[in-house]
Structures are given as C-alpha cells and as structure tokens.
Symmetry: D2
Subunit: 258 residues, 4 copies
Amino acid sequence: MHVACGKCLQCRTGEAHICQNVKIIGVDADGAFAEYVVIPESNIWKLDPAIPQEYASILDPLGNAVHTVLAGEIAAKTVAITGCGPIGLFAIAVARAVGATSVFAIEVNEHRRKIAREMKADYVIDPSKENASAFVMEKTGGLGVDVVLEMAGHPDSIRTAFDIVRRGGRISLLGLTSKPVSLNFSEDIIFKGITVQGINGRRMYQTWYQMTALLKAGKLDLHPVITDRIPMKDFSKAMERLKTGEASKILVYPNGVK
Amino acid sequence: MHVACGKCLQCRTGEAHICQNVKIIGVDADGAFAEYVVIPESNIWKLDPAIPQEYASILDPLGNAVHTVLAGEIAAKTVAITGCGPIGLFAIAVARAVGATSVFAIEVNEHRRKIAREMKADYVIDPSKENASAFVMEKTGGLGVDVVLEMAGHPDSIRTAFDIVRRGGRISLLGLTSKPVSLNFSEDIIFKGITVQGINGRRMYQTWYQMTALLKAGKLDLHPVITDRIPMKDFSKAMERLKTGEASKILVYPNGVK
Amino acid sequence: MHVACGKCLQCRTGEAHICQNVKIIGVDADGAFAEYVVIPESNIWKLDPAIPQEYASILDPLGNAVHTVLAGEIAAKTVAITGCGPIGLFAIAVARAVGATSVFAIEVNEHRRKIAREMKADYVIDPSKENASAFVMEKTGGLGVDVVLEMAGHPDSIRTAFDIVRRGGRISLLGLTSKPVSLNFSEDIIFKGITVQGINGRRMYQTWYQMTALLKAGKLDLHPVITDRIPMKDFSKAMERLKTGEASKILVYPNGVK
Amino acid sequence: MHVACGKCLQCRTGEAHICQNVKIIGVDADGAFAEYVVIPESNIWKLDPAIPQEYASILDPLGNAVHTVLAGEIAAKTVAITGCGPIGLFAIAVARAVGATSVFAIEVNEHRRKIAREMKADYVIDPSKENASAFVMEKTGGLGVDVVLEMAGHPDSIRTAFDIVRRGGRISLLGLTSKPVSLNFSEDIIFKGITVQGINGRRMYQTWYQMTALLKAGKLDLHPVITDRIPMKDFSKAMERLKTGEASKILVYPNGVK
C-alpha cells in the first residue's frame, strides 16, 4: 500500500516504510475501492499457497500489527494493547504467537471486547467500566507491563499507555489521533526511562516475510476478526456495522460470497 | 549454579554469566550430588507457586536453552537444533513458544529423536541415515535456516551448522567439544556474513525472569524430557539409562517417588 | 549518586539506573553540601590516576551526557543538543569524540553559547534571535538531524526537538520539566517513525567504564565548562554567577583554590 | 562494486551486501582495469564536493573498514586490528574517529607498521618480533580488547584474534584466507561468550552515507595510506612496490600525475 521512492536516505538504509516521498494507495492515488488500481511491480507480494485465500485481503493491517509487536523485544514479556480495532485484535494473535506471556486488551466497545476474548487475550478490560490502569498494575504486581501497543489513538488510551508501562518498558504508538496530547515528560518518560516509538506502516519487506512465515506455520488464527462476508451489493449495510463496532474486518466478494 | 564475583567488568555491565572469576557449583565446589551445598543468597531463585514443583530441578538446563534461543532474533524465523540432549530438547519447546516457524531437530540417537518429536519439532532428522544438510536446504527452498542452535558439541554437527545457516544468519554455540574444529573462514563465515555466538550459562537474571514468565504462562510443556522418576537408591540404574540415551532428564527423589 | 536496591527487576536485568527503589544522594539523603555523606561501598568509583583530579567532581553530570549520547547510534550522525547547561556542554564533547559529524548547539543564554563554541560545536544557535528549526533544516538539506539530545527541559526546546529530528531519528530526553508538554502524536512521532527515549541518571556501571575510557584516552577536553574555581567561603557569590549563566561548572575548594 | 539482485530475501531486508546472486565488478565482470565498465545506475554514488577528489578511488576499501568498525559497538572501547593492509590502515582512522579509546595495530610488514603509526594507532606491534598476545593482554590489564578487527586472513593473526579478545567481546572477520583454521570452540568461543561476525563488502547504502558523513566532517585523514601517485605507464613498477608492502594505496593517473 505504501509506494516508496527508493532513492531517499530512508529508502536506501532499510527504512523505506518512512520514505520521505511515500505515496499511499488509497490516499495519494486510487485504492481498493476503485475499479482499477495501478501499483508498481515491487509492491506486489505473491500469496503463498499455504496461506488461506481469504487472508489475502487483510494482510495490510496484519502487517501493521506484526510491525508494531516486533518493533522491540516481546518474548517472555507482558503486553497491553490499548484499542481493539482490527489491528489491535491482530496484535493479540501476533503477540501470543511470538511469546508474550500475558496480553491485556483494553477496549471500550463491547463487540470488539468479545472478539478480543476470541483472540485469546489473557485479560479483556472495559476502561469505561473499570479502572484499566489499576487493573493492569494489580495483575502485574505493581510493576506495570513490559510493552504497550497503543492502537486506539485516543487521548485516554494514550494516557493509560504511559500509566501502565513499567520502568524501562516500551510504548509503540500506532493509533493516529488528530487531537494534541499533553504529557508530563519528567514523570511519564524520563524518570521511568521508557522508550516511545512511532510505528508507521509495515517494514519493506521484513514485515511481509515475517507475516508469511507466521501464517504458513499456522501460528495465527485470525478468523474471529473476519466478522462479515458479504456480496458487494450489500456494501452500505456492511459499513453501518463497521460504525457500531459489530463488524471488524468485512470481506467483500465482487461476485457473491463463496 | 554460576557464582559470579560481582566486581569484574563483565559482572558490572550486565554480563555476569561470563564473569572473569566465576565459580561453578558442581565443578569448583560441591554440587547437587553432595549432601550439603553452600551457595550465596543471591543465587537462590524462589520458585513461583504457579510452576510445577518438578520443574524446579531442571531450570538450570532450561535456562541454557532460553539463553541460547533468545540470544538473537527468533520470532518468525526458521531454526535448526543440532543435538537433542536435554538442552536441545528444551530449546525445541522454547523456540516454538517464542515464534520460531519451523524447527529442525538433528540427532543421531533414536531415543532422543523420539522425544524431539514429542516436543513437536517440525522435522526430526537422523544424520547417520540421511543427509541432514541436504534435507534442511531442500525444506528451506535452498535458503538455509535463519538460526542454528548448536547443542551437540561434535565436529560433525558443528560442520552441519555452518552448512545450513543462511547468509546473514546466526549460529549460537552451546555444545562443548574437546576436539579442535577446522573451518574455512572465508566460505563458512565471511562470504555468508553470518554471526557466531558463544553461549555460556544463563544471563543473570534476565534468563530467570524469562523462564519464569514462560513457565507461568504455560507456554512450555517439558514433560516429555523427564523420562524417569526414580528413588535415590536406584541411582546407578538411572545412570545407565542416561548413557544409552533412553533417559533424558531423570528426577531423583530422596524419599521415594511421589 | 544513585543508590540502587539491587533486588528489583530493573536492578537484576542491567537497568539499575531506573531501580524501582532508588535513593538519590542529595535528594533522598544528605549530599555533597553536607559535612559527611554516607554511601554504599558499591557506589564508590576509584578515579584512574590518568584522569585530571579536578574532573572528579564533574563525573556525575558527565555521566549523564555519556549515557544520553550513547543511548543509541551516534557515529557518523548529525546531532542537535537543545540546552547547553553543563550536561549539554559535556554532550558536545562526547558526541564529537564518538564520531558525530555535525553538532548543533541550541541555547538562549549567551554565556553558555560562548562555552558551546569553545567545546567546538559545529553550529551554535540562539533560538531567541533566529529560527533554530529553520536553521537546522537548512543546514541538513531539509532532512533534519539524526539525533536530538534534549537537555533544556523547556517546552520550546522540546518543540524544537520534535521539529528538527529526521524521519526515523532519535530524541533522547534528559532535561526535566515541570510543565506539561503538548504533542501531536500523529505528526510528531508516528508518521515520522521516530524513537523517543527517557534518559535517567547513568548506567551502572557501563557509563562509568565508558567515561573512564574516554577520559583516560584524552578524548574529552572539558576545561571550558569549568568556569570558576573558588574557595568555599565564596560560595554565595558563585551561586549568583550560576543563576546568570556566567558560570557553568564551579569547582569549590574547601581549603582554598590550588 | 557489488551488484545486488534486489529481489532475494537478503536484498529485500536490508542485507543486500550478502545478496544471494551478487555479481562483483572486477570478479564476475570487467572491473576498474578494463577500458570500459558497465554498472547499474543504482551503483553510482556521487562524490560530495567537500570530499577530496583523490579519495574517490579508495572509497571501496574505506567502506570495508567503515562496515567492519561499525558492525558493533565501538565507542569507548579498546580495539585491535590484525593486519594493516589498506583496509586495516583505514580501520585505524575510522576506529579513532568514532571513539575507540586504544587502537592496537598488529602487522608483520615494516612498511605497513610505519603507516599504521602515521595513522595514529596507539600501539603498533610486530608479531614476528614480540608476542603480540602477551603485549595486548598486558596493556589491557589482563582483560583483553573489547573488539578485534581481523584483516589479515592469516591463521596466525586469526589465532591472535581469539587469544586477545576479552570475554564478551567481538571479533569481526574481514580478512580472507584459503587455508582452513582450527579452533577450540569451547575455549575460544563458548566459555568466553564472544561474538564472531563475518564481514562482507559494504552495507548498501548505509556504509556510503557513513563514509560520506565522516569524510565531509574531516574526521578521517587517509593521506598516509596513499603512498604512491603514478602515471598509468608506470603501472608495473607500482605493482612491484605493492608486493613488498612499500606501497599501500596507489593512485594511478591516466593522463599523468596532477
């Protein structure tokens, strides 16, 4: 989905996902809702035959999840995921597959919390009902979690992220927010000696190799995230279900659901 | 088991496992076969109540496995383990738990190969019967594996390690050998751009935290490695079974098997 | 100066500088302004005879600078230092010594800018007179700097840090601030794919080994930062000079200046 | 000089320098001694005007040095370089520029030792006259060096490398050897917990950015390595001087020395 220029410093040093001149299919050019899409040959990734066909259409957000989870150490670590849209839900599966030992999923929407449970998060928390920070701190013996994957992009969840990360831990930020967020740098970052990462897109092509390997090995069961399979003519109806959170990932079949 | 001095460069910079003045319980001082053992307070690690009691006696070799597997990137990678003594067998479980996508176990002893299968290695190979290198290269599409964990300490298995690691891959050496091993540095290391690591002991205390977390989360089923449970009076008989490879880890009960 | 407990997770995994139970000499207990100070044996670091005696009293802030500069890759990179108090000034010397190729020093106080020039910063900028961000962006060909070391703890300098760091770059935060700082997480961190680190104290004892090695090798000339050498009786006068920024580091001699 | 395929795993994950299908100009195709050379556009690197013109012809071996030195931590570390051909000599300059605190140069050829001294190695040792290992161990207080850059490719120098590296240190192997080398894996690698890296070529394009930055900043004085400047007609004579070691890098001018 990201078309990198191939010539800037970032592209030439293994950081093409933050290319200075990136064009995004669907933002800077027609994307998957258009009748035809033009993309460079190098952006085409051949689906391994061992991977279920229907996963093809969800590889991009899965890639975001893989990139975020694997942006630092994760094996034998406790992880909190704030926000369980599709990427957050995928991140539950990925984190478990690569050795996270406790996964806390924090999400206000009840439909999404239901899927988070199906993805086998160890703890699923509704921050509108209970104090998520207090809950995480208690379950980690007052330590906090090693890793927070922030995938909601909401000032409240970002606040929670900084509250529950342990001293020396990592916060990986993926969720976009248009609102400014206020931090107390001394208390929130410096005294705790934490690392905060901005995560953008997927690593070209490391993320794709990682995803392929995990999927081929059967390490990721993503079916709970695919909530709807619809013929294209029901498009508008499906969009409604996305808004309420009842639907997570919707597979749209041009010629009728198979 | 390793008593570090706490004052050398290595101890003071997070590398106490390769302390310049290390004393090893069982080598430099009486160990677990003695009636009484004296160890410093800081070497005592309290078993978490959630961890099965019988795992207590196998944490040291499990720690070697955890240290070796996690000495570099492993998630979404292919791994070969050359040598399936207890540590190699544990390494199968650990590698799987932290996201290795294919685990090749290479071992000449049939008893050990049987356990390797129970530990759910993806491929179990007898290098005395088939060409292990050819097998691995074929299964990896000619690429070789990302990571080799060398746990046999035999010149043949070391040779295999260098043959099957992919360009840019990692070989982590744990298996001790008294025999000199001959390498072609240009072909074996330099042109392939690989990294070779010597792995010694367990990281203090990082490995112990990692082990505890993985065991508490139920990520490791180590039971197949515990082949024998004997009363102490049958000690000599058990030793025989170790020599043939029929036994892997033997739990010795001072007051009769519970 | 940091007395770590030696028993928490952080202490036991090489992160004692962010010990959960840290006591700071001078904050939690009497410090260098007291007649007597009690510190644990393990906090004593013997000065190598090759290191100038007068550097002994400035090793703590030098350690902050070494920790910050070496908290990520720095060789062959461009670096901006926002805030040139003593630690910022030391950081100029350290960054140059370990291969930073351009050092931008940004500081409002004219006395400090003068010392920054003596420390051989490549560019010294007064952000009250000129647009620091525009200057840095121009000199880096619109790219921004690879690394920002934030040592002022002022909302304005923090703002500058996020403006001038390049995509994929690092911001290491050391300067404390009591005021909340507002960020646009999407623009400031996520799209740029940057890493933000909280830096606290010095790494025990890695930083001390690094400092000793650099000083013994004559890689750091810190004399410009030592602006005043006074007998203890002139203490109050010296404090005045600190407030105006005329003085940077002041050596206080109990028995008269030697 | 390395033409990478751009499509293999290594090329697509930032490791193009160990491309599976690499072609080397001068080995797999006509190189700099041919009248015309054909190389892909992406292999052309524009010399920054701030870099002395005559350095253009030595960037490839300088790149090997930069790649080797920066293949691991180097700041505030002690370094030994075994073998002072041009790449070893360049490595002295690079190591010093990025903060190595002691550089030991070990070389049998007297001409090369002379240049090593001009490159400001801290210690220059003739292993045919004195015991290089004993010398290094004494000067490092019995510890050994943090980093060894092996650039001779001779069994004796490789032996020395393993003898002088400290516990937990790094050996980066660049020097090619056609002879098999015998190691005691237990003593030489495992008990010491060292890391051994094979270094091949230069990182595309990270090394080139690093080189450019260091040269532009005036951090590297490479003139002592350029021993000869000759018109092309004196080619054979120059080759003689290369064999004796009197010449290190020879600049050949097609139209007479400028």
